[in-house]
């Protein structure tokens, strides 16, 4: 691989754009494709191009049979995103763990004393209200949103903005009772039961989590389970 190709690829990734690297795994010839990019020394036929488009849609790197032998199609999407509303204690641990898991993390909290650089080194911070910040972030099918403030003034507008997005996961901290009250408020705001059902509340898998670290694990575990839903097998399936 040429260093120029690799650096181009890293720059595109950094700018939040998808790239595809196609490699002839016999000769090592490569072609880098991206937003207005076609760099390299590998020729492709229409069949291979169609396979590349499918791989991008599926977000799945794979080896296919090309005109002159096998081609490895490597799809490189920008990182998954996690938006956390509430720069609270749990958010500090959750942000660190999410970065380790491969998410780009943004923390939103209009209370700037909470959302400080000292408390969240290396994480993107936004101190405007979530109903202003969230739509601007354009949450997509690779975005998870979690509200942690416990304060309806901040969490509710965030959840309303989240429900209008394509986010693959929406979770809200709070007990079952809090969550039921939340349902009433969202209904008053015009969100039906189907919309409300998109919200995982209380947030996280029930693993008996107690400490901020354990709660962060339960939240990340639930986000992963929703993301990888189609890979989850029951114990019966495994035995078969």
């Amino acid at each position: 691989m040429k260093i120029t190709l690799l650096e181009r690829r890293l720059a595109e990734q950094h700018a939040g754009r998808t790239t595809v690297l196609v490699t002839d795994i016999k000769t090592g010839a490569q072609l880098l494709l991206g937003d207005g990019i076609a760099e390299g020394d590998l020729a492709l036929d229409n069949e291979a191009r169609a396979a590349i488009n499918r791989a991008v849609i599926e977000d799945k790197s794979q080896t296919i049979d090309g005109p002159a032998g096998p081609l490895f199609i490597e799809v490189w999407n920008p990182p998954m995103r996690l938006v956390v509303v509430g720069a609270v204690h749990i958010a500090q641990t959750l942000a660190r763990m999410a970065v380790e898991t491969g998410y780009a993390v943004t923390i939103i909290d209009p209370r700037s004393a909470f959302a400080s650089e000292e408390r969240f080194p290396g994480v993107t911070l936004a101190t405007d209200w979530p109903d202003e910040v969230l739509p601007a972030l354009k949450p997509d099918k690779r975005t998870a949103i979690v509200t942690l403030t416990h304060d309806p003034k901040i969490d509710d507008p965030a959840l309303q903005a989240a429900l209008k997005s394509d986010a693959f996961y929406i979770g809200a901290l709070g007990s079952r009772r809090t969550h039921a009250k939340r349902a009433e408020r969202l209904a008053t705001a015009g969100f039906d039961a189907t919309a409300f059902a998109r919200i995982h509340g209380p947030v996280g898998l029930d693993i008996g989590a107690l400490t901020p670290g354990e709660i962060a694990v339960s939240i990340l575990a639930e986000i992963t389970a929703v993301l990888r839903r189609d890979r989850i097998k029951t114990k019966e399936d495994k035995a078969a």
């Binding site: 691989m1 260093i3 890293l10 490699t23 795994i25 790197s61 080896t63 096998p70 990182p79 491969g102």
Partner: protein, 106 residues
């Protein structure tokens, strides 16, 4: 930053610092394999490496092969699995098969 980002960024730094570098990438898997397609390992000319293509079972053999690719510049496709005769030495404990593409960063 994802795992792969980190490995490739580091590999680019090594290259800029004048070290010989090879990249190994899992390109195909069959059955149960420890690391998914796209997993990477970067190796420098001293045999130092970051990343993982198998969770530990075939890394030693991949690093050896990568050192050779750094010297010759010739890319290679490595097969590992239970049907491979190498399996006796460096096979996958989980019984899967993987193909790993090794190329020089130049």
């Amino acid at each position: 930053m994802s795992d792969t980002d980190q490995i490739l960024s580091e590999a680019a730094l090594w290259h800029r610092a004048g070290r010989g570098v090879a990249l190994a990438t899992v390109v195909t898997t069959w059955g149960s394999s420890p690391r998914p397609v796209g997993s990477k390992l970067a190796v420098d000319d001293q045999g130092r490496f970051i990343g993982s293509v198998s969770g530990g079972c075939v890394e030693g053999a991949v690093v050896e092969s990568a050192l050779d690719t750094i010297r010759t510049g010739t890319p290679k496709l490595l097969d590992f699995g239970v049907t491979d005769e190498q399996a006796w030495d460096v096979g996958l404990a989980c019984g899967g098969k993987v193909q790993i593409f090794v190329e020089r960063l130049s």
